[in-house]
């Protein structure tokens, strides 16, 4: 529990309504969308409405050595918002104003709590879009997606969040406010601090303002679905489409386990004996789109797709998308616990990756469904299990280890879009090597010497300890010890 004095100060900063300390309210911030993590209640939750309030809260936390956990909508999949050490969860959902839409410079400036879809709705009337679209567009905040550098279903053609963030306002651990970047397309003044904070998962500072790039909305699109009886052919199709100089906005894959789960869950008439389904969408200028769609269909045919469908209407498009949308919830229904990974490999290694995943599944006697953004190599191997089954969870852990080793062997990465958080921290060194981790640790130390910003995330716990002990005289404080501090 925080002392009365701290709570009183928080209330004097944010007002009674926006400081939560009752256990019933704190429960709501003890988890996020990550499966199989125990709940951890914070000691207080604050919901600031302005940068100034954030500054005040951060300064107070610094004085009292209280950890702060930034949180948007709490939809991340890597345990990024779990308040491991109690402390204060700082929620940005009430900082939700769109400050400006600049149609001339094709930018928008928002507060961090704006929901991604809300921004898209607001710029639609200018004929513009903000392309990064994680599966959670309708819920995730701009701050959360920038902090995670979220990807989404259009990553192949349009890139991910970091390709759109042009400027940031960040409240640093000492309470100073940093402004980096701006509206200019070109900017090489100094280090690229915007990129540094993008994807920093709340460990380097609290993002309080974001300027993003917008692009003209594509005028036309075509959606297609191809079913394959052979995984290799599906994989070949992916690389063939791209080698024919077509870059689809969306190029998604569902494997057999996923197809069967979706069919069982949603009954939409998918061929359950198929090995893979590809969902492909091309968009852009009408004439170009029609040409590209013809190329895609031709490639699918030549690769021997068992069946091919192209949507003629919006309703048909929705039908084709239904399978992809249902993938995650359908898999979630099969077993009590779902461990969702996002190991990513170069596109050309997709067949090897999927086969490797199948081998791992049989080796450890696990059910693994794989779906995801095949076009950019970002797969979501999803292990279906039950946390209460200790023996199986041990196998799951070993399988996850192997999945990451496999991805790295194939020249890939631990996480394509979900972030490291606490879930993948222990694998960090495997990818970065000691030198890489050391560089990151120094950056972290320089910006957050007391280790108060989202402690326990990205860096493995041991690393985190070293960090906080590095600062003379400041040890990790237990909540009780903290009370003694000024």
């Amino acid at each position: 529990m925080l002392s009365k004095a701290v709570v009183t100060e928080l209330v004097s900063i944010c007002g009674r309504e926006r400081v939560l300390t009752e256990p019933e309210d704190l429960i709501g911030y003890s988890f996020d969308a990550t499966a199989a993590l125990p709940r951890r209640r914070p000691e207080a939750v604050v919901l600031p409405v302005s940068t100034e309030e954030v500054v005040q809260v951060v300064k107070l936390a610094g004085r009292r050595r209280i950890p702060i956990y930034p949180r948007g909508s709490g939809t991340n999949l890597s345990g990024g918002t779990i308040p491991l050490e109690g402390g204060i969860v700082l929620v940005t959902t009430m900082m939700n104003s769109i400050l400006e839409v600049d149609a001339e410079n094709l930018t928008a400036t928002v507060q961090p709590g704006v929901i991604v879809q809300t921004l898209n709705d607001a710029v639609a009337s200018y004929g513009l879009i903000y392309p990064p679209d994680p599966g959670t567009v309708a819920t995730a905040t701009m701050g959360g997606t920038v902090a995670e550098c979220s990807g989404g279903l259009r990553g192949l053609k349009y890139g991910v969040t970091k390709h759109y963030v042009m400027g940031l306002e960040v409240v640093l651990a000492d309470g100073n406010v940093l402004r980096a970047g701006g509206k200019t397309v070109k900017n090489v003044t100094g280090y690229d601090l915007v990129k540094l904070f993008t994807g920093s998962e709340g460990t380097l500072g609290i993002i309080t303002g974001i300027t993003v790039k917008l692009i003209p909305a594509p005028e036309h699109r075509r959606t297609m679905m191809a079913v394959f009886d052979d995984l290799d052919r599906a994989a070949k199709t992916i690389s063939e489409i791209i080698s024919h100089k077509v870059i689809p906005a969306t190029l998604e894959i569902l494997d057999r386990v996923t197809i069967q789960a979706v069919e069982e869950h949603a009954r939409i008439g998918l061929p359950t004996e198929a090995e893979a389904i590809l969902l492909i969408e091309v968009d852009g200028i009408r004439e170009v789109v029609e040409k590209e769609a013809a190329v895609v269909l031709e490639v699918c045919r030549r690769q021997g797709a068992a069946s091919i469908r192209a949507a003629e209407t919006d309703a048909e498009r929705d039908e084709l998308w239904a399978a992809r949308r249902a993938a995650l919830p359908a898999l979630a229904q099969l077993k009590p616990t779902m461990v969702l990974e996002d190991a990513t490999v170069p596109r050309s290694k997709i067949p090897e990756m999927i086969r490797g995943l199948n081998d791992i599944a049989s080796k450890y006697r696990l059910k693994i469904g794989t779906f995801g953004h095949a076009g950019d190599g970002n797969l979501h191997p999803t292990i279906l299990t039950d946390v209460s089954d200790e023996e199986e969870m041990a196998r799951v852990e070993r399988a996850v280890d192997e999945i990451f080793t496999l991805a790295l062997q194939l020249g890939g990465t631990l996480s394509g879009e979900h972030g490291i958080g606490m879930a993948k921290a222990k694998y960090l060194e495997q990818e970065f090597g000691p030198a890489g981790v050391e560089v990151m640790a120094r950056i972290k130390h320089a910006l957050d010497p007391l280790g108060l910003l989202n402690p326990g995330k990205i860096f493995p716990p041991a690393q985190g300890k070293i960090l906080s002990q590095g600062e003379a005289g400041v040890k990790e404080q237990t909540p009780a010890a903290r009370e003694g501090l000024g």
Partner: protein, 494 residues
């Protein structure tokens, strides 16, 4: 009892993958932006209680009261989590652990004893002019002094005669209700012409169907004109309408608060009362009452003596709009054909000499419990589109909750009005002069919200607008007219 079975709720809770999708549709979360506003947060609170992490306390109950039971989360949950069931189970647990809050205790004791309830509302009616000051423009009252109601709130007056006092228990089609309504003789010249005894006599004497009308409290005590419209429209279609006089509150307000014992007793009593009647269908015009008959009674009474009867009656239940469209068959071409021909008319009704004498721009609000609860959203629109002269304009997000939700608006009036403000804005954008909806509770909320925003639109039940098509209180220059209110209503408002 199934709903209280911990294991069932636990399975439901376990289905939740904490994805947060419910945030994108929850009207409470839109306003509060706090995790305990949305299904995921309340569900996790219930989970924590089940797992013994937290005791069930009044604070727990209070968090669970922060829900409109609009079921938008249920409809949008990718994992199919029945949050409604979890909420009820958790509320029931709270009632068991800490009892009902004192105010609800008194109200529910009243609701569950029809005689007390009726007497209570009656005395309310007599005191009404003292307590409320009349709103200058609308048929509605502002509270004069706080009665636990918010002072800014306008509340429709209680009818001086309840619907069931006003109408006979049996209303055969040859005896249209309109003939007996006190204010029938309107000041609009020529308007009585369509209801001459001649015409009445020309209607089929033998009813083609016999239905029971479950009025519910709001229609019986407040919006009696809706009830008259139901009986009238059905009569005009050759259907006999019975209003079993013993019927009482559906009990859903008690049910959603978690007082399962009382709710079950009320369900059983209503089922016994209606099981006796020889009827083809049970009709409701209130979305919540409809849900009671179709879903909640059969579930609540599972294993009880009345279980079989409850299931049978549930199958016979129709919302009035659904009954008119799907059973009677109101069709668009040629304007109201089904309904009109069944009254033996050739489509020359009223002083204008044409069918469908209502005009004006109309928009429709989907009550949560009708739309998501009973899956009824097509029928009311078909009715509106079938009325010639009505220009139907769909509003944005017609299915978004208006924020009323029974006692929620009493406990959280400001929040409730913040939620309603979005509805008001959506209504305004349509340019409609009349808002139609299918539930008296939504009507009350929308009337109140429109008033607060100083908006001129009037709110009607679907069946009232339809009744006007039969029974034109029509004046070209003014569009759709106010529905008939009782003479006493008018007296009260003078």
């Amino acid at each position: 009892m199934k709903l209280r079975d911990l294991a069932v709720v636990r399975a439901e809770i376990d289905k939740c993958m904490k994805c947060g999708n419910c945030q994108s549709v929850c009207p409470i979360y839109f306003e509060t932006k706090k995790e305990l506003g949305v299904a995921r947060g309340k569900l996790t609170l219930a989970q924590a209680a089940l797992e013994g992490e937290l005791p069930v306390t009044p604070a727990f109950a209070e968090r669970l009261s922060l829900c409109l039971t609009c079921n938008a989360c249920v409809a949008n949950c990718p994992s199919g989590v029945r949050f409604d069931r979890i909420l009820l189970a958790a509320r029931a647990a709270a009632v068991k652990a800490c009892g009902l809050p004192p105010v609800k205790k008194v109200i529910f004791a009243g609701l569950s004893h029809p005689i007390v309830f009726r007497a209570g509302l009656r005395s309310g009616r007599l005191l009404q002019p003292l307590i409320f000051k009349r709103h200058p423009r609308k048929r509605a009252n502002y509270p004069r002094f706080p009665l636990g109601l918010d002072r800014r709130r306008i509340v429709p007056p209680l009818a001086v005669r309840t619907l069931r006092e006003e109408l006979a228990e049996v209303n055969p089609p040859s005896d249209p209700v309109l003939n007996r309504v006190p204010n029938q003789v309107s000041n609009q010249a020529g308007q009585a012409a369509n209801l001459t005894p001649d015409r009445a006599a020309s209607r089929p004497a033998r009813p083609r169907m016999r239905v029971a009308f479950f009025t519910g409290c709001m229609i019986n005590y407040i919006y009696t004109e809706t009830g008259r419209a139901v009986v009238n429209v059905l009569n005009r279609n050759g259907i006999e309408v019975v209003l079993p006089s013993e019927q009482h509150c559906c009990g859903i307000p008690v049910f959603v608060s978690g007082d399962m014992g009382t709710a079950r007793a009320m369900a059983a009593s209503n089922v016994r009362i209606f099981a006796g009647a020889q009827i083809d269908a049970i009709i409701t015009a209130c979305a919540t009452c409809g849900e009671a008959w179709r879903h909640h009674y059969p579930e609540l009474l599972e294993g009880a003596e009345e279980a079989e009867q409850a299931r049978e009656l549930g199958k016979k239940h129709y919302d009035i709009s659904e009954f008119l469209v799907d059973v009677i068959g109101i069709t668009r071409e040629p304007g109201l054909a089904g309904a009109i021909s069944s009254m033996g008319s050739t489509g020359t009704v009223g002083s204008t000499g044409t069918v469908g004498p209502t005009t004006g721009k109309v928009t429709y609000h989907d009550p949560c419990h009708l739309n998501r609860g009973l899956g009824i959203n097509r029928a009311p629109r078909e009715i509106l589109r079938a009325i010639p002269g009505v220009e139907f304009r769909e509003m944005a997000n017609p299915g978004r909750c208006c924020g009323g939700s029974g006692s929620f608006s009493l406990s959280y009036y400001d929040l409730s009005m913040d939620i309603a403000a979005h509805k008001v804005a959506d209504i305004q954008k349509t340019g409609a002069e009349t808002v139609v909806t299918g539930c008296p509770a939504c009507r009350m909320q929308i009337e109140d919200a429109l008033n607060r925003h100083q908006m001129p639109q009037r709110v009607l039940h679907t069946v009232e607008l339809l009744e006007m098509a039969f029974e034109p209180l029509h004046d070209e220059s003014r569009g759709i007219q106010e529905p008939r209110t009782s003479a006493f209503h008018r007296f009260l408002l003078r």
